[in-house]
Symmetry: C2
Subunit: 368 residues, 2 copies
Amino acid sequence: MKKIGVAGYGSTKFSKHETPIEELLVESTKQLFETTPNLSQDLIDGVLVSTNDNSKYLAAILSEMNGIKPKISHTIEHLCSSGTNAVISAFSYIRSGLADVILVTGGDVIGNPGQVLEWDNSRGQFNHPIYWGSMFTKAYKRKFNTTEEELAIVSAKNHRQAIDNPNSYSHEPYTISQILNSKIITDDLRMLDCSYPCSGGSSILLASEDVIKKFTDTPIWISGIGQKTNSASFTKNDLTMLSSTVYASNDAYKMSNITPSQIDVAEIHDAFSVCELMAVNDLGLSDKDSATEFVRNLFNTENRKINPRGGLIGAGHPLGATGISQIIEVTQQLQNCAQKRQIDNTQKGLVHNMSAAATSSTVLILES
Amino acid sequence: MKKIGVAGYGSTKFSKHETPIEELLVESTKQLFETTPNLSQDLIDGVLVSTNDNSKYLAAILSEMNGIKPKISHTIEHLCSSGTNAVISAFSYIRSGLADVILVTGGDVIGNPGQVLEWDNSRGQFNHPIYWGSMFTKAYKRKFNTTEEELAIVSAKNHRQAIDNPNSYSHEPYTISQILNSKIITDDLRMLDCSYPCSGGSSILLASEDVIKKFTDTPIWISGIGQKTNSASFTKNDLTMLSSTVYASNDAYKMSNITPSQIDVAEIHDAFSVCELMAVNDLGLSDKDSATEFVRNLFNTENRKINPRGGLIGAGHPLGATGISQIIEVTQQLQNCAQKRQIDNTQKGLVHNMSAAATSSTVLILES
């Protein structure tokens, strides 16, 4: 099977501005073109757009705005993990032989669907993501006797790390005390425990090993893929566990033939503080049931291994862009070009992206 | 490369009822389960939904409603060719080795986005599909001296063929005279020259050759795929030619290693009467520039080779379902189980699905 890797990338700044979706998509694509040597429109076989925006035909419109005439083009939506779904789709198009080079561009505008789950009647009155974040937090605190301070450490760490990410929404160095004293949203969540809804766009170019050297001397390969939609987890499973993440990560580790201990850097879907604690455990990155100690140690030693770009909490969460931005961060870390955010000696990275109370998860393994 | 084929299918009736999107998706999936031997939920690796509906996370919701816990799930949108885009995506997931069996379910509710192009500012005041249908018709009549009667033959043929399709929107045997006297919409289009906006859902199961025999003794293989998004065609190219269709069909014929003369049955995207005339020419099914004679001959000899289920004009056009329904019809023809619609000795079939004034086209070749 041919290897497929990241050949280029681009991103907008994440902000609260109501930038039109087309502009977000074009801006990040433009940056990708500017920073990817030898890339021309005619080399692109496919254009996939990941978004929750209600506009239609965006992949064709983005193509037209960029002068690309692709074979493959369509929009992919799967709420908060739309971005990684589009990247895996691009991976499969290339591996199947239907394409060699695919542009994946994701974006969402602040206030877009997905930030409020107006349509999701299956969850009764719990129609806003904050409710499941709150339920997860309550259950987690009950099981592990986790303190509010331990939860606040996640947010303090990720906000601190976001300062060195020029594209992040927040550049505020919030302290644990400021987080604990931020606005109360529910019994268990403060404002600064939540990821920021915002506008943003990000783009990635995927290419097969046959052609990737044209675009980069340091391709980063996608070596492991795991996905699971396990919708019933919300009602049937333990609320302190991301069961779809466990399934997805097992498949991803198996496909790439590595173990969690080999991961040097990970982008984790910290929609709420508690999600990072749950995920590092369910991905096998921390010793079992010691997630709070693990994250506290990262914080105290200024170790950026988890969410170096600031996570969804620090960098913001424009749904369709998030998964792609996570991949860009791991790519930059593995290329040793993450500037102030750079972690030493990174060779293997992980991306964890999920949707709707972890009813779906994606896990990717990237390697240099 | 492993072969991939159609292992099962299901469809709702197409109607003007405002059936909720979830119900359309579930109903056609239910029929697929009922008619596909040995299919159980745990055998399905992926669930892809094709729709223009604004509801989010429909692939996960459909999975939950059917008790499926897939690895891959998301929604695919590309206006009128969303359905074939989803099927080709499923094909690539299977061929890439990430899946063996994928359920593709498409649907749209009458009045959904895509039937009126409210957002499409790139076309100035021409914000309704009827305008491009009208422009195409005017240009075609001017170039080929095509008469209104010759255009009406397309509609009369497809309405007549739809009578034998139990799922079609129309079962009315409209005559040429009735079509010519139907409501005037623009200078060049009567009401009965247009496809019907409607509600409908359709499902297809795709499987690799490794496992397909479990589900069917008569798998129909997807042997050719061509796609093109050629957005600028509308402003730069000849309005009497579907340039994206020419690109897409060349690729599809090449991949399947056949010529147009070998096609026994074809489902054509007749959004308006003129589209069928343009497409049979651009797909190479009629002799060059003799499309009107070709279709007149089919009509006079009651030959169902083109659009046996009635096309979009007779069967209706619920956007996200259309491409999938076209594949189901060709599959049934190649399986020799199309009942009253059956054409003799069919071995190779073609599906032609397009979006937005043919700015995108998909062509598939299917073989028994």
